[in-house]
């Protein structure tokens, strides 16, 4: 079905199942170790061989010689695959660098071989026996230096890199209050708990891969393209994904090398990237340098706004568009944004949770704190004063729904914001300096076309199949809830099957479009199935009522299983989003409140309290949505206080490439977290009236931490992460 206009009343409004707090339907499987992740398919791919990936030891240059004989004769080794013997390979549409390199090396730890052996231990031992000689070339690894050579990147996802309205220069010069500050955000690693992992099995010229992936259809196409084979011959299976955060949007070396290894060894092969290879072999969130200039009048209204951003990537890679985090967020007639991208020889940069907006808000929401202080206004009040219900660049375009003021005010009330001392460094609790910080969360609510197949079996059970993935986001449950609501059955009578390219193509998981799009696709398929039921019963679809597992029309009342009959009844459809996206801006909003303690002597920062008040349309499953938000808040604490892929600017790689040295938040770092959703629904986006929450929670939260640190200490650190050394020398 096409979604062309604002939705009126529909069956999802019943909210008998949708919107109800529902434990994850796959929860017991996960809690008992019975959910099957990519590396764990024993019954389907029995007795696999093991592949171990060898990564390049230089960042840029060429392999001059590679002696694999030691590995080939090593105990248990079945095959060694390199670019030289892999046969002709193409490159996926979504890959920037090659997944199997040689002789040219584009970045450190780029895969150059897979060693296949009978056991993991033999494969690992075999990998140490390959002798590689390189000719290194000088590369560019320092964004600060490369910034000077950065160029205007092409538009991406419909967003131009630059924007301007009014007269920024004139307004900034005339503003009574202004700030001009530069912020640094480092590269971040997704560091999902499940490593990139795949099993590959060939049957003739047909390939099946069990892999950890967020976007099944894209990855099927890219794997087929890379292997120069028709996509119909490739099946991708990924029902459980141990975290992705954008890192598993595209195919990576594990799946290609498993496929090549399996072809060479003539048996199924499983490959997991060793943890220390993940940061440099795969993708990361690129570092940014951002300059923000803000001018405000005596009334606190923003009169001049400029947000400029510099980032870098491999040649042909996209840029980290940090300015979308601010471009239409607050009012003000005179404005400009710009993005410039430099070419770097570091590993490929790509999407990580709220790409652009996470680092953009890390900088911009500190800048708002700074200008509010300059003007002498409370930062909550300053944001309220500068709220806009329209696109400040194009005032005819309105926000479809925007309750940012309500988020801020509700949060301030709940958090006890009125007790905040505006004077920095003024509140002490023993040896701890205590501060409060606030920031806005702001993230787009896109949609993607999405399909599903729904079937009723003679038992009365409802089966939903879609290639949608659940990367921890709760897709299983909200899809089940949607089918249960639409088909009038209890949730425990619904089976949800996900992550298989044999199923209809869905939106996939990314850009916080997954929940709204995939459930809308299921909604469409269910409508079609209801029509099929009506036809089978010989009644008009609009007279059909389905409830408690029975179809009712007039005097007819038939159990769904009976309607379906022995052969079952099935329908497939997809939602195609065709509304005029120019009319409205579709966004989700929130307000983050953070209390920190900063040790007066050691400068150690401890997060003491956190609250997010969010506004994201209809909430389909409140506990799962809460979990998305608090998880993102946790990741935002990491970005604020500890996460940084440290660049070795001489050799050209990320030095801290494991979980001991790339520090992410642990239990001790995260206090009890509060999350409140404002009641709302947005019928302009989809029939589900939901928006998306997966990325909203990470936007702004790091700045809220930074602003709380400033309030506690009077020290403004503009270079993330805010570590002890920086606080000590500020």
């Amino acid at each position: 079905m096409k979604f062309t206009q604002t939705e009126g009343k529909n069956r999802t409004d019943r909210q008998k199942v949708i919107g109800k707090a529902t434990p994850r339907i796959e929860g017991a499987l996960k809690a008992t170790g019975k959910a099957t992740y990519a590396y764990e398919w024993h019954d389907i791919a029995p007795k696999p061989a093991f592949g171990y990936v060898l990564g390049a030891a230089i960042a840029k240059g060429r392999i001059t010689s590679m002696d694999t004989s030691g590995a080939e004769s090593s105990a248990g080794v079945l095959a060694v695959v390199t670019a030289e013997n892999a046969g002709p390979l193409d490159k996926g549409n979504f890959n920037v660098v090659k997944l199997l390199a040689g002789p040219e090396i584009q970045h450190y730890h780029q895969a150059i071989a897979v060693i296949v052996a009978r056991t993991f231990e033999e494969a690992r031992a075999g990998a140490t026996k390959i002798k590689v000689r390189y000719a290194s070339e000088p590369g560019v690894y320092d964004l600060e230096v490369a910034k000077e050579t950065a160029v205007k990147p092409p538009a991406r996802w419909g967003n131009e890199p630059d924007s301007a309205a009014g007269d920024f220069a004139g307004a900034f010069a005339a503003a009574p209050f202004k700030i001009d500050a530069t912020y640094h955000t480092p590269a971040h690693s997704h560091a999902m708990m499940e490593p990139f992992a795949s099993i590959a099995a060939w049957k003739g010229d047909e390939l099946t891969v069990w892999t950890a992936n967020q976007m099944i259809a894209w990855s099927r196409a890219d794997l087929a393209k890379t292997l120069k084979m028709p996509p119909e011959k490739v099946r991708v299976v990924s029902p459980y994904v141990g975290g992705g955060f954008g890192g598993k949007l595209w195919i990576r070396a594990d799946v290609l090398l498993a496929a090549l290894g399996a072809r060479a060894a003539k048996r199924p092969v499983k490959v997991a990237l060793p943890r220390p290879m993940m940061a440099n072999n795969t993708v990361h969130r690129p570092a940014t340098i951002q300059r923000v200039r803000l001018g405000a009048g005596k009334d606190g209204k923003i009169t001049a706004f400029a947000h400029e951003n510099w980032a870098g990537n491999q040649k042909g890679g996209s840029t980290e568009t940090a300015t979308l985090a601010s471009r239409a967020l607050y009012a003000g007639a005179n404005r400009m944004t710009s993005n410039r991208n430099a070419t770097l020889d570091l590993p490929e940069g790509n999407a990580m949770r709220a790409p652009g907006d996470a680092p953009g808000s890390m900088a911009f929401e500190i800048a708002i704190d700074e200008i509010a202080e300059k003007v002498g206004l409370d930062p909550v009040e300053f944001r309220v004063i500068n709220d806009t219900q329209v696109n400040p660049e194009k005032p005819a375009q309105t926000y479809s729904t925007r309750k940012l003021i309500q988020c801020l005010k509700t949060g301030a009330e709940k958090f006890g914001w009125s007790k905040r001392n505006a004077k920095p460094g003024a509140v002490r609790d023993g040896n701890w300096l205590v501060g409060l910080g606030v920031a806005t969360a702001y993230r787009g609510a896109p949609t993607m076309n999405s399909g599903a197949r729904v079937r009723i079996e003679s038992s009365g059970r409802v089966i939903v199949e879609t290639d949608m993935t659940d990367i921890g986001t709760g897709s299983y449950t909200i899809i089940g809830q949607t089918a249960a609501e639409m088909m009038g059955v209890p949730l425990d009578r619904v089976d949800v099957r996900l992550g298989d390219s044999n199923f209809p193509v869905s939106a996939g998981s990314g850009g916080q479009f997954g929940a709204v799009s995939a459930t809308s696709g299921v909604y469409a398929a269910c409508l079609k199935l209801r029509e099929a039921i009506a036809t089978k019963l010989g009644v008009a679809a609009d007279t059909l009522e389905i409830d408690d597992g029975f179809a009712v029309a007039g005097s007819k009342r038939v159990a769904l299983g009976e309607v379906a009959g022995t052969e079952g009844l099935s329908a497939e459809d997809k939602i195609e989003f065709a509304t005029d996206r120019e009319k409205h801006l579709h966004y989700t909003f929130g307000a983050h409140f953070v209390e920190v303690g900063v040790h007066a002597i050691t400068s150690e920062v401890r997060v003491r309290r956190m609250l997010a008040v969010c506004h994201a349309g209809r909430i389909l499953n409140p506990p799962a949505a809460r979990n998305q938000i608090i998880g993102a808040m946790t990741m935002g604490v990491g970005a604020a206080l500890m996460e940084e892929l440290v660049v070795d600017k001489k050799v050209g790689f990320f030095v801290n490439h494991d979980l001991a040295s790339y520090e992410v938040p642990v239990h001790a770092d995260i206090p009890h977290q509060e999350c409140v959703f404002l009641d709302d629904e947005d019928p302009t986006v989809s029939p589900m009236k939901a928006l998306g929450v997966g990325e909203l929670g990470i936007c702004g939260v790091s700045a809220a931490v930074a602003n709380a640190v400033y309030n506690a200490t009077g020290k403004r650190v503009r270079d993330y992460p805010i570590t002890i050394d920086k606080l000590m020398r500020t």
């Binding site: 008992t32 019975k34 248990g76 955060f245 608090i630 946790t634």
Partner: protein, 214 residues
């Protein structure tokens, strides 16, 4: 119960095996280039979840890989293989360990409990049920390790083993929120469900879930 292929291994033998295992890479290096030298392997029996398994293993095999690849008990997860993330946590004789940091040959005669041994989907352990009830996970990959770790941690508190967060070494340990968080910090959850995990563990332990804490 032991099967016909098993043989008795004393604690002393286990230590010897451990020593032999650590010597293997040196031997292998000396033999590099010699064609298809068979790796050193050994037979052992592992008692996992109350069941004794006879195994012939490459001595380099970690306990984690023995569980996952040889016994097909894939509930224990490999997140880092370096003892940095805790996803592989299992209970050995009631104590929690990172199974990736331990060789399988060191565990003949030990009683190993994995997530599969705690409960099943239809008959969950109280800790497993509490994780489901409090939504103490998202992707689920760290979850078995978190749960095994939590079960082991509660025994440590009960046995008055102090932690970095313990303020009074002479008083009985209490499972306060700072204690819980400190003791669980070897188990990373990148999805960031910590707040919910803390509530789940507190619920299973029968202590109040803490709100504010510094």
């Amino acid at each position: 119960m032991q099967g016909p292929g098993d043989f008795e291994v004393s604690r002393r033998d286990v230590l010897k095996l451990g020593a032999a295992a650590t010597a293997v890479p040196l031997v292998a290096k000396g033999q590099a280039g010699s064609p298809a030298e068979a790796p050193v392997s050994t037979q052992l029996s592992l008692n996992v979840n109350g069941k004794v398994h006879a195994l012939k293993l490459d001595t380099r095999t970690s306990l984690l890989d023995a569980l996952r690849d040889h016994l097909q008990l894939t509930g224990s997860k490999k997140g880092c293989d370096h003892g940095q993330c805790g996803a592989c946590t299992v209970l050995v004789n009631g104590r929690r360990i990172n199974s990736c940091l331990s060789l399988a040959v060191m565990h003949a005669g030990d009683k190993i409990t994995t997530i599969e041994g705690l409960g099943t989907p239809n008959k969950m352990h109280a800790m497993q049920a509490a994780f489901v009830k409090h939504d103490g996970f998202q992707c689920g990959y760290c979850t078995p390790g978190q749960i095994c770790s939590a079960v082991g941690m509660l025994s440590e508190v009960k046995a008055n083993v102090p932690s970095h967060a313990t303020t009074d070494l002479t008083a009985p340990c209490a499972l306060t929120n700072p204690e819980l968080r400190e003791r669980m910090s070897g188990n990373i959850c990148r999805c960031g469900a910590y707040s919910n995990i803390a509530e789940a563990i507190a619920d299973a332990a029968g202590v109040p879930a803490a709100g504010r804490s510094a």
